[in-house]
Amino acid sequence: MSASNLELDNTAKAYDGLKVLHDVSFAVSPGEVVALVGHNGAGKTTIMKLLLGLIRPTSGSVQVLGHDPAGSNAAQARLGMGFLPETVSFPANMTGREIMNFYARLKRQDRSDNDRLLETVGLADASDRRVKTYSKGMRQRLGLAQALIGSPRVLLLDEPTTGLDPTLRRSFYDTIMSLKDEGVTVLLASHALSEMESRVDRIAIMSKGRLMADGSMTDLRKKAQLPARIRLTTDDGAAGRAAEHLQGADIRHVNGRTVEFDCASENKMELVRRVTDIGVTIEDMEIELPNLDRIYELYQDSGEASS
């Protein structure tokens, strides 16, 4: 028995000989929130389907809550799982409450908890209206509510924040964080890189069916060795002089008062000191560490190169 709630071990998947997933190994522990990022067709949804047992791996193994999700104990594993598909749709003529009752019954749960879940996602007032009157965001939230039925220990969420406005996004992540504190494993597949990078424990980057990187934001920054971008604002006219003394930095832009350059993260203090040493007054300094977008692009490019 492993300590992780979900685990892929050298898992590969091919459809009619076409490989969509190449020997991916990764595991997620209880209480961990992991983002799965990658372009369309990178294998994110394939991983979700493997974890749900909807498809079987061509080679390698898949484990969820200690069971093979496509094996004979699959129902046991699925009782402890919640899933939000990428495109969520419900019978248009049912009310939100009826849909929750239906799914609660399938999950062998009492329907009494449904009111609380509808409240959590902010649909309490709309619960007796038919789904066809719901907006895209409301359907998405109903999708989230059904994923939370029965207090799952593993949550698989495919593009959970599409159609949500910024306020709802924040409350969505609040919900995720409180679930994390309860020890729930959360796997988020998403394109919304910027909103995730500060909120997840780990990020797994997929490209063309391969796992390109897997680690915390700090790990990824270190591994990617992407430069930090620094913008200095000096007193009038000194920017050109400052730029001349920034050997080893990649100057991107100079004009009268500001100079913008890229440099290795560990050199940034040294370079700034050099500028002050020659008597240039620094009025303002902005440091932009490589964000997930840039790291992501780097791995996408290397994914292209390796295939």
Binding site: Y15, L52, I55, A75, R78, F83, V88, P91, L106
Partner: protein, 276 residues
């Protein structure tokens, strides 16, 4: 078991909400009443038992309408849910795959049975109200036509699920469903007759002909209702066909069940292996 009933219940509720049930019931009742009332006007004068005439009319109506309704209910059941993404969500729940198809079948069958029983039953009620002269055997035939119509519907539901499981696109399923309806309801009998005429009744043996009749669920249904009961054959134009066919009602009923179980079993088997 719980999952099976939950899914069946969901289908019934959906059929009720989107007005399918009421539309089908009204359609069947409308046709049944029209046939009954028009049918009894000319025959009443010559004193023919109008309940039997009604049974013959209803069975002809069934052959055209019930397969069509059943296919419309079922062709979308699997592929439509795959395209809408709802099947992905459903199968992420702790249930076996056969629950999904079995539940849908139970739900759709309930909807179809309700519409048939209420629709055709209304024709029976009108006949009782008119004081029809009929004995118990006639009422048994009337009950049998309703019961076997539901069985015929079940067979075409099962065929619809099979179509829905095999195809990769919803539009293909719709096309195949129409083709299946045309084949079994219209073309098959004409082709069979043509074959007989061309053959001159020599080459094709009786057993081959009988086997060909059973290879179409609507013919099995027709034989069951029109030839299976005494006194019925005299009213029908299919005597020529059924005189040669010597089937007991029980074996015809068996064939009807076979037309449910085989496609449904095949659909379930394929669905278990399908990668969503």
């Amino acid at each position: 078991m719980n999952a099976l009933l939950a899914i069946a219940g969901q289908e019934i509720r959906d059929g009720y909400r989107n007005k399918w049930i009421i539309a089908m019931t009204l359609l069947l009742a409308g046709f049944a009443l029209t046939l009954t009332l028009l049918g009894s006007a000319p025959t009443g004068t010559v004193g023919t038992n109008s309940l039997l005439v009604t049974v013959v009319s209803l069975s002809s109506l069934t052959i055209f309408l019930i397969p069509l309704i059943a296919l419309m209910l079922s062709y979308d059941a699997v592929i439509g849910e795959i395209e809408r993404g709802t099947l992905l969500l459903l199968l992420s729940y702790p249930l076996a795959r056969w629950h999904a198809i079995g539940g849908k079948f139970l739900g759709h069958l309930s909807v179809l049975a309700f519409a048939t029983i209420v629709g055709y039953g209304s024709a029976g009620a009108v006949l009782v109200f008119q004081g029809v002269d009929a004995d118990n055997a006639n009422w048994f035939s009337f009950a049998a036509v309703i019961g076997s119509s539901v069985l015929l519907g079940a067979a075409f539901l099962a065929i619809g699920y099979l179509i829905s499981t095999i195809v990769k696109e919803r539009a293909t399923a719709a096309g195949i469903a129409v083709a299946v309806w045309l084949l079994f309801v219209l073309i098959y009998d004409m082709a069979l007759l043509g074959l007989l005429v061309a053959d001159g009744g020599n080459g094709i043996g009786e057993s081959v002909f009988n086997a060909l009749l059973l290879a179409n669920p609507t013919d099995a249904y027709r034989l069951f209702n029109l030839a299976g009961f005494e006194g019925m054959a005299t009213f029908t134009g299919t005597i020529g066909l059924s005189a040669n066919a010597e089937f007991s009602p029980l074996s015809l009923l068996g064939v009807q069940f076979g037309w449910i179980i085989v496609p449904l079993g095949l659909a379930t088997w394929l669905f278990q292996r399908k990668e969503i």
